[in-house]
């Protein structure tokens, strides 16, 4: 092999080396970009899901106060329904899961101060690691909403209204 030939081969190897370095750089950069973009999308999805779930909960006929049947009172929950809705959601778990997905929904009476909060729905998303022990997921998005709680069980049959906080935590 001549000296010229050897130089030619070294040149080709160098070009190929740089080419592959560039390709590896490109792949690494693309992977990092995709990862960030995926994370961003996941956060966006979780935020949208939180808003959607809160909207659904605020208008659930299973909770809403009604005025003579067809009309509902905005942002108002019927306390009598609140007391029983957890049983219904537990009995019809699959149905309500397809509506509310992974979430924890609680209502706390804040004025006048009430007792324990009503945990009306609790479907925590759990990851199952290698040893099979469930562990709570880290990605959750809580949203809070002020609602009115209506108590119909009063002596003069005139409903009483209280303030409450609706907390909707969604998981991804």
């Amino acid at each position: 092999m001549t000296k010229r030939g050897q130089i030619h081969i070294s040149e080709t190897v160098a070009v190929l080396f740089i080419f592959f370095i560039l390709v590896v750089f490109g792949i690494v950069f693309y992977a990092r970009f995709q990862q960030t973009s995926l994370q961003h999308k996941e956060n966006e999805f979780l935020a949208t899901k939180a808003i959607e779930t809160t909207t659904k909960v605020l208008f659930l006929p299973e909770l809403a106060c009604t005025k003579s049947g067809a009309e509902t009172e905005d942002n108002c929950f019927d306390l009598a329904k609140l007391r029983h809705v957890n049983n219904l959601f537990t009995q019809e778990r699959l149905y309500y899961f397809s509506l509310l997905s992974y979430a924890t929904i609680t209502v706390q009476q804040v004025y006048p101060p009430g007792g324990e909060p009503f945990v009306i729905y609790n479907e925590k998303k759990i990851a199952v690691p290698g040893d099979g022990t469930p562990s709570p997921t880290v990605n959750k998005e809580p949203t809070y909403f002020v609602v009115v709680l209506r108590d119909d069980l009063t002596e003069n049959s005139v409903p009483r209204y209280y303030f409450g906080i609706l907390t909707v935590e969604v998981y991804s």
Binding site: K56, P61, E62, T66, H84, E92, Y95, L153
Partner: protein, 361 residues
């Protein structure tokens, strides 16, 4: 001076470069084409998911019509299907379909438009149990035939939709709309075997369909078959309570493709009604316990009687409603029983409320 061997070497090099270059180029072109197809599919999937969000918010905005401008999507055909009580929607030609198994969704089978119209109407039997989500477009023209009170109510309710009102079909012309649905109140002009309006005979058979509503609440669907009206099914939809209030189910019946799609989507509404009824039954027991714990000889005795002991009483009527919903879910031809049971319950509830008793719904 180059030798013969050298010349051959140069030519071979060039051929090699051309083949290798061509293959590399083809590889990248292939990737680009594949990427384009994937992007298109992703875009369509994102559009469908976006529509799911739009439908979610529209579904809870009670009695509200939303006009969604989709001019940029005018090339896409949106397809709506319902199977075993689950609605599916997606873009025609794309395998991805969004599932909707809770909200009852009523729409034509296909929509290609520049503006979607979503409309949420409450479903109350007698208490609100769900919102029926009606989805249509500005490109679907509704023609109400009749001049009775029901027609007037329908006209008032459908403000914002593309609606015409006529008293006979002879003057009806086929306009630029993708579909015309005739709603014949009384069912006198659209009947099986009667000719479709003359202006529609030259255009696509699928561009026109009709719904007839009789005063006893029977709804029939008709389609254009060889320029005559052909009844879609021998058994009608039964929509009770065509009384003072215009039933929201009837609005859904105008919008939806046909009776099978209607029955399929309504399954979800009845399922929800059954669940909400369970809650009202529990609330009645709470009220009964409240009154039982306070046996002062006031109006409470009367309230307790109307709730539990009088014949019929609210507890009993709620159970009847529950049973009626059960039969309706087993056999959709028995759904009229639900309306009857709901009416009876509502009547007794009004009497109960007149006594100043605790509100139930």
């Amino acid at each position: 001076m180059t030798t013969k061997k050298g010349e051959f070497h140069i030519v071979f090099n060039w051929i090699y470069i051309l083949i290798a270059g061509g293959m590399i180029l083809l590889f990248f072109v292939g990737i680009a084409i594949k990427q384009k197809a994937v992007s298109e599919e992703n875009l369509q999937t994102e559009i469908v998911q976006l529509f799911d969000s739009l439908f979610t918010s529209a579904g809870v905005s009670e009695k509200t019509k939303n006009f969604i401008d989709v001019s940029a999507l005018r090339d896409y055909v949106f397809r709506f299907e319902c199977e075993k009580g689950i609605d599916y929607f997606g873009i025609k030609g794309n395998a991805f379909q969004q599932e909707e198994d809770v909200v009852p969704l009523f729409s034509p089978e296909e929509i290609q438009t520049t503006q979607f119209i979503t409309w949420s109407v409450p479903f109350s039997k007698p208490f609100k149990a769900a919102d029926l989500l009606l989805v249509t477009s500005n490109d679907v023209r509704y023609v109400f035939v009749g001049d009775d009170i029901l027609t007037q109510q329908a006209l008032e309710l459908t403000t914002g939709l593309t609606v015409d009102s006529v008293v006979d079909l002879a003057s009806l012309t086929a306009e630029k709309y993708s579909h015309t649905r005739i709603v014949d109140f009384g069912g006198l002009l659209v009947r099986n075997g009667v000719e479709v309006p003359s202006s529609f005979r030259t255009i696509d058979e699928g561009a026109i369909s009709a719904v007839t509503v009789s005063l006893d609440g029977r709804v029939f669907y008709f389609f254009n078959k060889n320029d005559v009206w052909k009844q879609h099914s021998a058994s009608p939809l039964l929509i009770s309570s065509l009384g003072e209030d215009f039933p929201s189910e009837l609005l859904a019946a105008f919008i939806v493709q046909d009776e099978s799609r209607y029955a399929c989507s309504m399954t979800k509404a009845y399922k929800r009604l059954k669940l909400v009824t369970t809650l009202y039954k529990a609330k009645v027991e709470d009220v009964v316990n409240y009154y039982t714990g306070r046996p002062e000889p006031t109006f409470q005795t009367e309230c307790l009687g109307k709730l539990t002991t009088y014949a019929p009483n609210i507890r009993e009527l709620l159970n009847s409603l529950d049973r009626a919903i059960g039969s309706c879910m087993d056999d959709s031809t028995r759904c009229g029983l639900v309306s009857d049971a709901a009416q009876k319950l509502d009547q007794h509830y009004r009497d109960y409320k007149e006594e100043g008793c605790i509100s139930l719904y």
